[in-house]
């Protein structure tokens, strides 16, 4: 239990550092950049309570906003992410539930189920993020484009990250 908490805190620090220092400076095609920090909530233990997930979403989004001068933007988007995560997990659950102690990764969830889980959450997160961002400028076309392209990019990065997971002994 304790080791699991420490593991999640370390993952939080690592992912935030990568997001702020690396991915916030990568603009594919000029305006697109992947949001790898969604893995913070995606990879939480499956048993994590709805309350904890929601609060992590709010807190993480706020910290990211502070670093990117976008007060409120990531806070709102990632709070939604945290709220939806338990719901989506239930939605894609196998008929007899998740095996005890299984993790939210490709190995334990199978590729198809994990993809549905990740795509649904990433899409809703990006949709809210870019619509909120779009209020201050940008056409419907460019917002749609950003949502779709960025969802794809983030999803690819998330999948690539899954190749680093190992089955626990």
């Amino acid at each position: 239990m304790t080791s699991e908490i420490i593991q999640n805190i370390l993952r939080w620090i690592l992912l935030m550092a990568i997001q702020i220092l690396v991915f916030n400076n990568i603009y594919i095609g000029g305006v697109y950049n992947p949001f790898i920090y969604v893995l913070i909530i995606l990879s939480l233990p499956i048993e994590a309570s709805a309350l904890v997930t929601l609060l992590i979403g709010f807190f993480t989004g706020f910290i990211l906003d502070v670093f990117s001068h976008t007060y409120g933007l990531h806070t709102m988007a990632f709070t939604l992410f945290g709220f939806l995560r338990p719901i989506v997990l239930r939605l894609v659950a196998p008929r007899d539930g998740y095996a005890f102690g299984s993790n939210a990764n490709v190995l334990d969830m199978q590729l198809g189920r994990y993809s549905a889980y990740a795509l649904l959450l990433i899409f809703s997160h990006h949709l809210l993020l870019f619509v909120l961002e779009g209020f201050s400028g940008g056409s419907v076309g460019s917002i749609t484009m950003k949502v779709l392209v960025n969802t794809f990019l983030t999803f690819i990065v998330v999948l690539v990250s899954q190749s680093f997971t190992r089955k626990r002994a």
Partner: protein, 274 residues
């Protein structure tokens, strides 16, 4: 009452979610407009410290490029030395000593963080109030205008770059002196849109756009960009001009923060008396 408590207990997570979203939304509304950006200087000092460390490391990678930039700048400065000017004793064309008419002070600063992920982009400089930087000062680099200082802490300052939809800059066509408003349309980080130029004004591709200097933030005639393409707006009959920005804001590393010595005079003059 008991029922209400039951409902609250069952759906508390939904209520909490809505509450947190409300907090997020009020942050969004409150802190994301040009004049309302919070004076969160302690936050600036923390994030600034992190970005400074990273900038120290990544700077080495860019040294070659930076050296070229500096050499180019030296060349320009040499051109401005006194000996580069022709002295004339002709009384019809007296040589004016510009040092007595100093209007703007230039302070150098380095960009330590540069965001380009949203329609509202900011950058962070490694100089703050201790170096004399104040809010509403203009920021330029060797190629053109970069942005306006919106927030200052002791050692760092935050600049709203021209790649920010909240920033509108008054500019003019160099050739004909017609005024317009320059703003970013989020489509392309190298281009911005110039509006309010009326349809009868003759414009050409490649025409130079420069600052007016009316607000006292930028001096007159600082390069902004050149015309890339233009179309007419059917409703207003104004030109919609696409401008290639000359300052490569994305890659800006060394910038100058401009202080207008007479800015208070301008503000006093332009605000109506009570």
């Amino acid at each position: 009452m008991h029922k209400l408590l039951q409902v609250l207990e069952k759906y508390y997570i939904v209520f909490l979610f809505l509450l947190l979203e409300l907090i997020g939304f009020s942050l969004l509304v409150k802190y994301n407009t040009y004049h309302q950006i919070a004076y969160l200087s302690w936050v600036n000092d923390i994030t600034g410290g992190v970005y400074q460390k990273v900038s120290d490391i990544t700077e080495h990678v860019r040294l070659e490029e930076v050296n070229k930039e500096l050499a180019r700048e030296n060349a320009i400065l040499r051109q401005r030395l006194e000996e580069s000017y022709l002295k004339s004793n002709n009384s019809f064309n007296p040589w004016i000593d510009t040092t007595y008419h100093q209007n703007y002070l230039y302070r150098t600063a380095e960009v330590i963080n540069n965001q380009l992920s949203s329609p509202n982009n900011f950058m962070m400089l490694n100089q703050g109030s201790l170096a004399g930087i104040k809010k509403e000062m203009g920021v330029v680099n060797d190629y053109g205008i970069v942005g306006i200082v919106t927030d200052v802490s002791k050692h760092y300052s935050v600049v709203m770059s021209i790649l920010n939809t909240d920033l509108n800059v008054g500019v003019r066509l160099k050739r004909t002196n017609f005024f317009g408003i320059l703003s970013w349309d989020t489509e392309n980080p190298d281009q911005a849109i110039l509006n309010n130029i009326q349809g009868f004004v003759k414009i050409h591709k490649g025409d130079t756009i420069e600052t007016i200097g009316a607000s006292g933030i930028f001096p007159q005639g600082i390069m902004v960009g050149t015309i890339d393409s233009f179309t007419t707006n059917g409703e207003t009959n104004n030109w919609e001009i696409r401008v290639n920005l000359s300052a490569k804001v994305q890659q800006a590393k060394h910038v100058y923060v401009l202080e207008n010595i007479f800015v208070e005079e301008i503000i006093e003059l332009t605000t109506p008396e009570e």
